[in-house]
């Protein structure tokens, strides 16, 4: 057994931030930060945008400069895989049988891409996007790609489509449902974003599934559910993620669509915390359990875990928020749209400003903003107050969102 202190499994955004906040809050014990990827903690959002486009290099995606971990006495170990958690012995077992003891354990294992189980998925040229190295590999593919097929019309798929198009590829987005982003936004929002992509030359095909990838060793075409084929030099699959909760489940922690935690990020074992994409956590505002895939949640839960471990717990209960950049669309999302029974559009056509407010029984529960940062910021303030906007004012983009209540 090697000492005690805190062991953090997963050196992504959540894990890296947890280590930093522990030190910032004065935690004096050992901190071991274990990552599978060969990189110090980095930001994932640029992987489908600025990094993929070649606008920035990997160093600009790192959460902290490389000296930070040494200066803060954080034992960052990358390229390390944790094989098991032994709760009774309070230790994690690494590949190669080394074991590390812990007093408190933080699981920040994130999510993994949902895999397609169709013929040809193993062909060269079929790619997923999750890691920095995958982004760099895709970047080099896109430099001279002719035909790119994006499977999945969600945020990641659309960001990749926009980037690939800007890099000169001919891009087709395939979405199984009848409109893009169907699970999370109103039809008005889907239509607006789809129109922008089409204006930029991206083809969007909805209501169509991919049934196979074809080619001799390398991809040459994508077969669709209507039995037609599309020529493809590369395909990028973005069909959602699943929580990477296998380690937690194997050691008997409560797991159900992610690791079940409380508002302090504590799991069913009081010495084990879990943070970020992998958690199924309660949200005080929406009064239901959530599993989120976003930076804000990763950072806020990292802080909650660090505070709990430092003995000054603060409950985490944020209205979640998100962002996405596609072509000239700066998309910012406050809150969750699930359960909305009414939507109100706020649009200023000549400024390309567009927002959709989501209401449930008259209460503002979420807002999608496109090139409308004021609406986004003000929605983040209004949603937690259960504001009930005046509908006529809400529909008038000349009225500031805050003045609609």
């Amino acid at each position: 057994m090697v000492g005690d202190g805190v062991v953090i499994v997963g050196a992504g955004h959540a894990g890296g931030q947890a280590a930093a906040v522990l030190r910032a809050k004065g935690y004096g014990g050992t901190i071991r930060l274990l990552g599978e990827e060969p990189h110090a903690p980095y930001e994932r959002p640029p992987l489908s945008k600025a990094l993929l486009a070649g606008e920035i290099e990997p160093v600009r995606t790192y959460l902290r400069k490389s000296e930070f971990y040494g200066e803060k006495n954080i034992d960052l170990r990358i390229g390390i895989r944790v094989e098991a958690i032994e709760r009774e012995a309070r230790r994690v077992v690494l590949a190669g049988d080394e074991a590390l003891g812990y007093e408190k354990l933080i699981l920040a294992t994130g999510s993994v891409n949902r895999q397609l189980d169709i013929p040809g998925v193993e062909l060269a040229g079929v790619r997923y996007l999750r890691s920095l190295d995958e982004s760099l590999a895709l970047r080099s593919d896109l430099e001279d790609a002719g035909e790119v097929v994006v499977v999945g019309g969600g945020y990641i798929g659309l960001e990749v489509a926009a980037t690939a198009r800007k890099m000169g590829a001919h891009v087709t987005v395939l979405e199984m449902l009848d409109r893009i982003m169907a699970r999370v936004v109103a039809p008005e929002m889907s239509d607006y974003v789809a129109a922008c992509h089409r204006d930029q030359g991206v083809e969007i095909r909805t209501g169509v599934a991919v049934t196979g990838f074809e080619g001799d060793e390398r991809l040459s075409a994508v077969r669709l559910s209507d039995d037609s084929t599309l020529p493809a030099d590369f395909a990028v699959v973005g069909v959602g993620v699943v929580p990477n909760d296998g380690l937690a489940a194997a050691c008997g922690l409560e797991v159900e669509n992610g690791i079940v935690v409380d508002e302090f990020t504590q799991t069913s074992d009081p010495d084990i915390f879990a943070i970020g994409d992998v958690t199924n956590h309660p949200n005080g505002h929406y009064r239901r359990r959530l599993r989120l895939e976003n930076v804000q949640n990763a950072m806020d839960q990292a802080k909650a875990a660090a505070l709990a471990i430092c003995g000054t717990p603060e409950a985490y209960s944020e209205v979640p928020w998100f962002w996405s950049d596609q072509f000239d669309l700066k998309i910012q999302i406050a809150g969750l749209t699930e359960g909305a029974d009414q939507v109100v559009v706020r649009q200023v056509t000549d400024e390309n400003r567009f927002a959709v407010a989501y209401l449930k029984a008259g209460v503002l529960i979420a807002l999608d903003a496109i090139n409308a940062p004021k609406d986004f910021m003000q929605a983040r303030k209004l949603i937690p107050t259960n504001a009930q906007p005046d509908l006529a004012k809400l529909a008038d983009p000349a009225v500031a969102l805050r003045d609609t209540v």
Binding site: R64, Q296, W321, K330, P373, K374, M377
Partner: protein, 105 residues
């Protein structure tokens, strides 16, 4: 080497060398100032909000409309001194820059 002075939320002053070619936000993070910068510098949130000393404000490139729209609704917004630190490109010309961290969200 150009220096940055940052006053934290407890009023404590920190002085460190600034690195040209990075944003002010990146410089603050690299020097362990408690700034969230959730969106990583793409001007999508307002969690890198700082107050810039008035004599400095006029020496910085003016904020664009997007930054102004975001920072206006950030906690503690001050019309005269509020900026988003991710939108300030740091260079040696800013030697001596003084900023104060805005309240956390």
């Amino acid at each position: 080497m150009a220096q940055i002075t940052c006053i934290d939320r407890e009023g404590k002053e920190h002085r460190f060398d600034g690195e040209t070619g990075l944003s002010l936000m990146e410089n603050l993070k690299d020097n362990d100032m408690e700034i969230e910068a959730v969106c990583g510098g793409c001007c999508a949130c307002a969690t890198c909000h700082v107050f810039v000393g008035p004599t400095w404000l006029e020496r910085l490139t003016a904020p664009d409309e997007e930054e102004v729209d975001l920072v206006q609704d950030a906690p503690g917004y001050d019309k005269k001194t509020s900026r988003l630190s991710c939108q300030i490109e740091y260079s040696d010309a800013l030697d001596g820059l003084r900023v104060t961290l805005a309240p956390e969200e």
